[in-house]
């Protein structure tokens, strides 16, 4: 609910991408950034007295449904990007025999 706390998750994810030594862990940190972004966007349309956006008697007072519709798209696209990155990591492993960034850069020469 607090936008500052969800922004901290994004910062931790960026730190993880910058410092991780293993390719798989970089991809996991990318997922952390995605979750932080979703929390930040959902917070935009949130209001304390609003209801869940379903048609009924409470239609006069609902939270904003636009960010929610956008965030479902983000989740699905994030899963496909993760699958693509994992396939590329398998290819890298079969070429270089390792998945540590340093070893891969060393063997490339």
């Amino acid at each position: 609910m607090n936008p500052i706390l969800s922004f901290i998750i994004i910062l931790i994810g960026i730190y993880g991408i910058c410092t991780s030594k293993h390719i798989i862990k970089s991809i996991v940190c990318f997922n952390l950034i995605q979750t932080g972004t979703i929390l930040l966007f959902l917070n935009l349309g949130y209001s304390e007295e609003g209801h869940i956006p379903i048609i009924g008697e409470q239609i006069e007072k609902i939270v904003d449904p636009i960010p929610q519709a956008l965030m479902i798209t983000t989740i699905v696209i994030g899963s496909t990007i993760t699958a693509l990155a994992l396939i590329l990591s398998i290819k890298i492993f079969h070429y270089y025999g390792s998945l540590y960034w340093k070893v891969v850069f060393d063997r490339e020469g």
Partner: protein, 182 residues
Amino acid sequence: MVIIANLIQVLLIAISISIVFSKDNTRVVVFLASFSLLSACLYFLNKAPDVALAEVAIGSAIMPLFYILSISKQREFIVMSHVDDDYLKNEKNQKGKGYLLLENFTDYYKLKLYIFNDAEKAELKGIFRKSNVDLIIEKDESTNTYFLIGKQSSILMNKLAQLVENDDKTIVVKVKESETRD
């Protein structure tokens, strides 16, 4: 309600810190699944039940499956054998010459060796594209020479060629992925 939501967010931050500082990949995947489950609870408290539903299905079930599948594929060096004699024999006291060579090679790169015998002798054309094989072993019966066939793009093949430099009976062949020697 606000107190519960803030508590869950602090818990999310704790899990993400432990993800960044953990060294074991399998443990990281389990952390990620629990992270997704907790964030789905948080989406529901944010009055977005549809997003929570998608996150439970995709984030905490399908994504860890992807990760586990790809991690399990990243420890093996797969060898396909077309040889029938005891070049690749692996028993307690007597190991074949080729098996010793490959064991030496995979120990150097800390991989797990996995050899399977292809009895049908499948056609070699385009086999590196179709299946996940790293190395193919063949034998020329007339000259008693063994051919180790691998991908040209793989850097590991250079080390293998270095290992068999002094051996006349073993030849390393590098092919492009689109064409296979015959």
